[in-house]
């Protein structure tokens, strides 16, 4: 069975500092991994995905994520956080022929 964990409910970071939002997953086959962002009273917006190939994936709004197969992790990163990055972030995984499984979400607060 597929599962996703986001070990931190909340991440606080100062504006201009690098940020990391953690995600670990469990699948029986090859994973497809996704990050989504949700702003207040909005739906989820796609940020980036890992399918195959280069372990470092670049996405929207300057975000990137690093796939680590040995640690079964897919952490979201950004070199310099903005106050406008404050939102709820969801990691998701799916295998071939399966539906998405979402993590519980991590609330990111970027402090000015």
């Amino acid at each position: 069975a597929q599962s996703v964990a986001q070990p931190e409910d909340q991440v606080n970071v100062a504006e201009g500092n690098p940020l990391t939002v953690k995600c670990t997953y469990s699948v029986s086959g090859n994973p497809y991994l996704f990050w989504y962002v949700q702003y207040p009273n909005r739906g989820l917006q796609f940020l980036l995905k890992y399918i195959t190939g280069d372990n470092l994936v670049k996405g929207s709004y300057g975000f990137e994520a690093e796939f680590n197969k040995s640690q079964t992790s897919f952490h979201l990163k950004k070199p310099s956080a903005l106050v406008s990055d404050s939102a709820l972030y969801f990691c998701a995984v799916r295998e071939d022929g399966q539906n998405f499984v979402f993590g519980p979400g991590t609330r990111l607060s970027v402090l000015p």
Binding site: N99, G103, P104
Partner: protein, 113 residues
């Protein structure tokens, strides 16, 4: 760019009432999904569809029904609303079930009192 459109945005129901949450997508996606989002619980899959005329249960289907008569529309029906169905509901679609991402609607905030 309409994408995935959900109506209504907000609704208050009394216990025992019924309603239909509407979802329409204009991207010609075969796959459509209904999720509910509860605080700290992430998204739980209620029902999904892999094409017109084909639907299947997700993780939390009890108390809900769906239909998929066209590629574009995937309504979610709540029969006999209960307080446990108070949640935010999201409809999503994707081109296929493999490598493509899902696109989400803006959500429907439902309160059952």
């Amino acid at each position: 760019n309409a994408g995935v459109t959900q109506t209504p945005k907000f609704r208050i129901l009394k216990i025992g009432q019924s309603m239909t949450l509407q979802c329409t997508q204009d991207m010609n996606h075969n796959y459509m999904y209904w999720y509910r989002q509860d605080p700290g619980m992430g998204l739980k899959l209620i029902y999904y569809s892999v094409g017109a005329g084909i639907t299947d249960k997700g993780e939390v289907p009890n108390g809900y029904n769906v239909s998929r008569s066209t590629t574009e529309d995937f309504p979610l029906r709540l029969e006999l609303a209960a307080p446990s169905q108070t949640s935010v509901y999201f409809c999503a679609s994707s081109y296929e079930r493999g490598v493509t991402e899902a696109f989400f609607g803006q959500g429907t905030r439902l309160t059952v009192v």
